[in-house]
Amino acid sequence: MGRQYEIPIGAQHISLLEPLHFKFTTENEKIVATEANVYYVHRGIEQACCSKFKFRQVSFVVGRVCGLCSISHTTAYSQVAEKLLKIEIPLRAKYLRMLVIELDRIHSHLLCLSHVAENSGFEALFMKTMQYREFSMELLEAVCGNRIQYDFSIVGGVARDLKPQVAQSILERLKKFIPQLDELMDIYKNNWTLSLKNKGAGAITKEDAMRLNVVGPFARAAGLAIDVRNETEDLLPWKQVGFEMITETSGDVYARNMVRLRELYVSIRIIENIINGLPESALITETKAFPDGEATVRLEAPRGELFYYAKGNKTQILERLKIKAPTFSNVAAMAEAFTGNEYGSAPAIIASYDPCLSCTAR
């Protein structure tokens, strides 16, 4: 046994988008223990949602929980509020919500992949992936009116309609994107240096993933088939639009990249199916009721399972709102998966978790 050193990473670090602090205990180059501090971004949104804002305003506030998956948050909150109000939303609104969630998944997964490439030391691939990602931001701007923070879902339905020419441009851009995605798949799969860096790094077994209750691409890369899109059919009809479960077995950084890339193909197929079969109906269900009772909602955000609990008391202000973000479930596994890896691969492993700490801390 060698001498042990403590090496901190964060809160400000070039490889981190957001404040996150890991304290590694290392022996020579091997990490033997990790301590995580993830609550730098705690703002107190839950308390404000239950005191300052009325229940129709809360869907705009919870969008600001996270800029990357804001549509997942607004949709999940809208769904839980609709359960409390006991209303059913129009079918077209459901399909439009799914469309924006999948477009958001494309941009979020490509951002994560580019970040992994940058942190593995592959700057050119970072630039390439960011270049290919821009089309999804432009499409989101065309559909929702803003590049980030869409505020697309509101309580009772959606805020904007999809114009036919926008739908047409989405199909055209996706057709152009498929060969680019094939190219990215080839690089991430077959590039020799990237494989040397990524294969075997940050690995987690299926048993560990079950024991630590991991969610999202992190779990699916280890072979644990958990995806809320496969499970709930009552709120959003995922299986009708061609959802397919993607799993890998090795559970390392490479497998996570592969899961994300293969999920992009599924997302593209879902978006094409939605646009080709978009039903005609109203966009919003009006109601004058107040939220009452308690309800829970689960939704698959780009990083995994998002969980909302809400309790109403027949007034404008909610009694309690609980947000469980995907990364919150992964914190315990994030600290354990470093063990046995070299310190040099730690930034790439952090990026491959795709941590979203503003979701976790709220």
Partner: protein
């Protein structure tokens, strides 16, 4: 969502009997203020029967110490540490200061009396 009532004494036994790592997924722990008591909830989902969400709940006084389920569910420490700070309840073997700064007045989610 099926809610299962439990009590402080039977909590560890109930969850221990129910939870199998290969079958169940621990989601989150939550607490709601009901009158002058606090309703603490543990949410589980099922890998095999996807639409099932099971919620164990118990009503406790704010000063009661809640038993920890860390030895049954390995990843529960994050949820427990968060509730200790935000709701100002006591959980076995859990320190304050994970979410909020140590000098901060704890329990911001509790209603001001």
């Amino acid at each position: 969502m099926n809610k299962v009532m439990t009590s402080i004494e039977n909590l560890k036994k109930d969850i221990g009997d129910f939870y199998k790592p290969e079958l169940h997924h621990f989601m989150v722990m939550n607490a709601v203020e009901v009158g002058d008591q606090i309703e603490v909830q543990w949410f589980f989902s099922d890998y095999a029967h996807p639409c099932d969400t099971t919620c164990f709940y118990t009503l406790v006084r704010p000063e009661t110490e809640i038993p920890s389920i860390k030895d049954i569910v390995a990843s529960a420490w994050v949820a427990e540490a968060e509730l200790v700070d935000l709701m100002n309840i006591k959980v076995e073997n859990t320190q304050k200061g994970f979410v909020l700064e140590p000098d901060f007045e704890s329990g911001p989610l509790r209603k001001k009396k």
